[in-house]
């Protein structure tokens, strides 16, 4: 009636074998992006000897960090079929909250915490409106995008502000050349574990894959979605703080939709399904690196900014099309 113990062993074992592994890896969404990124790095280094220098790598890492941090949140939202269009505005708002909190007497570390708390609150509001009033998050966050821009311009009166903090904290938070990318990689590592090795991550995937099945299994759908909105806003705010510490001042129109779309594009290029149900955090990092390498490489080549946008747009399209077809090849839900 039942299968043999050997069969149990076989079914339970992780799939092994070099051919199997290679095959699985090649079909992974990140794989093609890694290959393309390496090819781009080789090309830019051959075309321009300045590419693999310490100064330039620092520049690339600084370009990559913020979109990757934002991608970590957007990937979680995309997987459970939501999106946050306003995270770039939270990015701009949070340094001003920190500066205002510092100005009224809070130490810098507490001011950072206050800024992150406000960002988390924004995420909570987005989540409550989206879930409670059944508004698509595309619409909720489109409204929040304008609303937060207005708030930032109002509290800053339209002027940039200087970032507070002593040299050590400033260095840790972004002034040292590689500190932003160290933060980004650390956040990627934590979020990778959250997505792959916690119930939170598994339930996020289940919600995006089949919301009826998730509900029938008793998963708290609203809690997970709202939590992912809070996560995304908080990460966006944190990326904004890092940027403010690196630059030393912050502009009320920093970040914006550009950084949000770079985050979303990093995730999607890295293999996150725009229709939900599948995605990888590591893919977001790889996608962000690819965009950073492209941007920096073309800048070194002296390609003008207009042509650059055309190339970036085409690259994103190609990467997304490739991903959708690879997902189909893998046979799972795209």
């Amino acid at each position: 009636m039942s299968l043999s113990p050997q069969a149990v062993e076989r079914i339970a074992a992780p799939r092994r074998g070099i051919a199997r592994r290679v095959y699985d890896f090649v079909l992974r969404p990140e794989a093609s992006v890694i290959v393309v990124s390496v090819a781009l790095i080789v090309y830019f280094e051959l075309a321009n000897a300045n590419f693999l220098t310490n100064d330039n790598l620092e520049t690339v890492s600084q370009f990559v960090a913020a979109p990757v941090i934002i991608a970590c949140g957007e990937i979680m939202l995309l997987i459970c079929r939501e999106i946050d269009l306003s995270v770039g505005q939270v990015f701009a708002l949070s340094p001003f909250i920190m500066e205002h909190a510092h100005a009224v007497g809070l130490p810098v570390v507490a001011a950072i915490a206050a800024a992150l708390a406000v960002c988390a609150l924004i995420g909570l509001v987005i989540g409550l409106i989206t879930i409670g009033l059944k508004v698509p998050s595309f619409i909720t966050t489109l409204g929040m995008l304008f609303l937060i821009t207005g708030v930032t311009l109002t509290i800053s009166r339209g002027f940039p502000a200087n970032t507070p903090g002593g040299p050590l904290l400033t260095g840790i938070m972004g002034a040292w050349g590689y500190s932003e990318i160290v933060w980004a990689v650390a956040i990627v590592a934590v979020m990778h574990v959250v997505l792959r090795h916690t119930r939170w991550g598994l339930h996020t995937i289940a919600i995006g894959g089949n919301i009826v099945a998730a509900a029938e299994a008793g998963i708290a759908i609203n809690r997970i979605k709202i939590g992912n909105f809070i996560l995304t806003s908080t990460l966006g705010g944190f990326a904004g703080l890092l940027e403010a510490f690196r630059v030393g001042s912050t502009d009320p129109l920093a970040g914006g939709s550009t950084i949000m779309f770079l985050g979303v594009a990093s995730g999607v290029i890295g293999g996150t399904a725009i229709a939900g149900g599948a995605g990888t955090i590591v893919g977001g990092l790889v996608g962000g690196i690819m965009l950073g390498v492209l941007q920096d490489g073309f800048t070194l080549q002296g390609i003008n900014a207009f042509a650059f946008d055309i190339i970036i747009g085409a690259a994103i399209l190609i990467a997304m099309v490739a991903n959708i077809h690879l997902a189909r090849l893998r046979g799972g839900g795209a």
Partner: protein, 259 residues
């Protein structure tokens, strides 16, 4: 010919004179059934005969207007799907409620994942893989690996995973909604084999909604024919045949045409 064949033996689930009215439509006009542990009851009938309504009452999705449901001989009120589940009543619907993008073992443990000890509460993938493999092996469901995404499986395999999940969650009363619908012969064989193995365990009462007379007679111990919200025929499968069942239905068609 209505009324349950109460055997006086052990009973897993019993319904007595269940009535359900939706507006002007009487979906169930006093239906009774009785299934013993280890027994399989097939419910046949046309669309609109009330089969689905009956199953939805047994799963706690609908509440009857009158009549009583008993589990293990005790009267129960199935106020919700969760209440029914707590009593060991599991239903495998046609949509199966599986997440295609997740592996077999993640689907089997969805929302009752096994975790490592410790404050981080990380998923214990290894333990889940093993337990899922054991659970599948126990009821004779063979798949290449529990790591496969459910979306890569055939319809029959997916059905088997859904049944295995229900059984693994300690189901003692298993309701199957058209488990053989839209399935090829080989796939159907897979599910029929699975249901037979579950029967052989002897502890699970199975209620199965079906369309196909021949398959139902092959799998089930007893069949019930529902027409217009009432049980019009009930028999041990050994004592009836597809011809007899067809004849009853044909008689009705003739009556309608003559009427």
């Amino acid at each position: 010919m209505s009324g349950a064949t109460t055997t006086g033996g052990p009973q897993a689930i019993r319904a007595e004179n269940v009535v359900k009215v939706f507006g002007k439509v009487t979906a169930l006009a006093g239906v009774s059934l009785n299934v013993a542990p280890g027994e399989t009851l097939g419910i046949l009938g046309d669309n609109g005969a009330g089969k689905s309504t009956l199953v939805k009452i047994l799963t706690g999705y609908h509440q009857p207007d009158s009549g009583q449901v008993f589990v293990d001989g005790r009267p129960v009120r199935l106020g919700s799907v969760d209440e029914a589940r707590a009593l060991g009543i599991e239903c495998v619907y046609q949509d199966l409620a599986l997440v295609n993008g997740l592996s077999i073992y993640h689907n089997m443990f969805l929302n009752r994942e096994l975790l490592w000890g410790g404050p981080l509460k990380l998923l214990d993938h290894r333990a889940m893989r093993r337990r899922a493999a054991e659970a599948l092996a126990e009821i004779g469901v063979d798949v290449p690996s529990v790591e496969l995404e459910v979306g890569m499986l055939s319809g029959g395999q997916r059905q088997a995973i859904a049944v295995a999940r229900a059984v693994y969650s300690q189901a003692r009363i298993l309701l199957l909604d058209e488990p053989l619908a839209a399935m090829g012969a080989r796939e159907a064989r897979l599910i029929i084999g699975l249901i037979e193995r579950l029967k052989a365990r002897g502890d699970i009462a199975i209620v199965m909604i079906a369309h196909n007379y021949a398959q139902t007679l092959e799998i089930c111990d007893r069949v019930m024919l529902m027409q217009h919200g009432a049980v019009t025929f009930e028999s041990q499968t050994a004592a009836t045949s597809a011809e007899e069942l067809l004849e009853i239905v044909r008689r009705e068609y003739r009556a309608v045409r003559a009427g």
